[in-house]
């Protein structure tokens, strides 16, 4: 047994330093205030401090860090999107992911598995071929494969899916990976904290002060702060914040549910996604099957779970894997997904000077954590939109220039 572990066991006080400091109170002023201590907000704080030398930052969190959609997603990382804007952006993110663990000195359990998007219909095959060609053109490892490749990678699958929806082929994306989502928030949080960023949990934003079209401060449940720049990274709570500023956005909130089974021996190596069956599934390092389906069918600002969801998803899982009929579901939960009409995020500057949005991440935000942090840090530091996020600007709707990513949504949302 390592000495460090023995010392840990024998210690009367908790011997490890905390991941980040707790602060008594808020300062009167900060250079930047970030609302939301999820992966995106903490990543932006980390890159602002590391790459742009801005360290007088407060990250405000109503609840606890990583407790929102950062801790509620199904941890899939991929870059096989449909539009050139999307592919370039997510591909940069996959690259950043790969050396993040070394950067943080923290094990993220980053595990490259290969990602199959199954096609059960001719039209799905056509979309997969389209995505494969866009991906290849932009240098992303992605190809159309036949059912035999799916069977080889996952011998347990019933290729006929119970006879209802036979698998005709798949889009295979070798760099597809999963990672431990909590560690991502902690890693960015610790990295930001070490560079002087203050993380304030249990601090709710009540209002944002604007004078002559410019942000001047933030009112919180623990006092008021003066600041010229505010970054909003609050996913499903975005409309509550934009309402404070009378900023109109297309964002609407639907819950997205997920569940895990009891842990089992490793048998599922790749990540499988089926649009027709509304399933995405991977096996975690702990052995649980992590599964998600499509959005709930109506707007809701809550994270309640439903039995309908478990029944529907379990039925579709059994179409693919009949032998799982005895597996038990351990937990289910929901997150509030901030959806946009074109299935692309809304990032960058807004009509209010000094107020920046990192939102509209709907069901696709976790994989983009590093690159959104990096590009938003650049945007906030220079008050100029990063070139990679031009296609995701809020004004694209008024300009009728949408970035249609719907074809690349992992299931038919």
């Amino acid at each position: 047994m390592p000495l460090r572990l023995l010392r840990f066991a024998a210690a009367s006080r908790y011997p490890e330093p905390r991941m980040f400091r707790a602060h008594e109170g808020l300062r009167r002023a900060y250079d930047v205030v970030i609302i939301g201590a999820g992966g995106h907000g903490l990543a932006a704080a980390y890159y602002l401090a590391r790459d742009h030398g801005i360290r007088n930052i407060a990250v405000l969190e109503k609840n606890y860090i990583g407790g929102g959609n950062t801790g509620r997603n199904t941890t899939i990382i991929r870059s096989n999107y449909l539009t050139p804007e999307g592919v370039a952006f997510y591909d940069e993110s996959v690259r950043l992911w790969q050396d993040l663990a070394a950067d943080f000195d923290l094990n993220l359990f980053y595990s490259t598995r290969g990602h199959f998007t199954l096609a059960h219909t001719d039209s799905a095959m056509r979309t997969m071929r389209w995505r494969a060609e866009v991906n290849k053109h932009l240098g992303v490892d992605s190809e159309l494969v036949g059912p035999e490749r799916v069977k080889a990678a996952c011998p347990h699958i019933d290729l006929s899916c119970g006879g209802n929806a036979p698998i005709l082929g798949a889009l295979f994306h070798a760099p597809g990976a999963i990672a431990r989502h909590d560690a991502v928030a902690w890693g960015y949080g610790r990295g930001a904290d070490r560079r002087g960023v203050e993380i304030h949990q249990q601090t709710e934003v009540l209002g944002i002060d604007v004078k002559a079209g410019r942000v001047t401060g933030v009112r919180t449940s623990r006092g008021n702060i003066a600041t010229p720049r505010v970054l909003c990274a609050v996913a499903g709570s975005t409309p509550r914040i934009t309402r404070m500023l009378d900023i109109r956005t297309p964002i609407y909130i639907h819950p997205l549910q997920a569940m895990v089974t009891e842990p089992m021996k490793p048998w599922l190596d790749p990540i499988l996604v089926s649009g027709s069956l509304h399933v995405y599934v991977s096996q975690s390092a702990r052995g649980e099957l992590v599964m998600g389906a499509s959005l709930d069918p109506y707007e809701l600002h809550g994270t309640r779970s439903t039995l309908d969801f478990v029944e529907g998803l379990a039925a579709h899982m059994l179409d693919m894997f009949p032998f799982l009929s005895h597996a038990k579901v351990n937990r289910q939960w929901a997150g509030m997904a901030d959806m946009t009409p074109d299935f692309a995020p809304i990032m960058g500057k807004t009509p209010v000077e000094g107020f920046y949005l990192d939102s509209g991440w709907g069901t696709w935000g976790f994989k983009a954590t590093p690159v959104s942090g990096k590009t938003m840090a650049y945007t906030v530091a220079h008050d100029r939109e990063h070139p990679l996020i031009h296609g995701f600007r809020l004004s694209r709707f008024a300009e009728y220039e949408l970035t249609g990513e719907k074809g690349a949504a992992s299931v038919g949302h």
């Binding site: 975005t238 409309p239 609407y252 069918p297 600002h301 809550g302 709707f397 008024a398």
Partner: protein, 86 residues
């Protein structure tokens, strides 16, 4: 919310219904500006609250209005569009 009251068919499982978004006035496309039109087409009131929404009972094709609390997921009342003045 697991059951929803259709004004014609009474209490039915929510899976028989289709949600169709908040009731919103459409600007006149012949006279409004491009900006007003894009605001109508794309922008939504995504904030929580009590909202008037269009719902469809799929089985019978009945369109109606539901007033719903989007935080508590509770329907306050449902009625046909012409029954209550907006």
């Amino acid at each position: 919310m697991k059951l929803l009251r259709c004004p014609i068919n009474g209490l039915r499982p929510v899976s028989e219904f289709q949600y169709a978004g908040e009731v919103r006035p459409m600007p006149d496309p012949d006279t409004c500006t491009d900006e007003q039109w894009s605001d109508y087409v794309f922008n939504r009131n995504g904030a929580p609250g009590i909202k008037r929404e269009w719902w469809l009972h799929i089985a019978s094709g009945i369109w109606f209005i539901a007033e719903r609390d989007t935080v508590a997921d509770k329907v306050l009342r449902t009625y046909l569009f012409n029954e209550v003045a907006p």
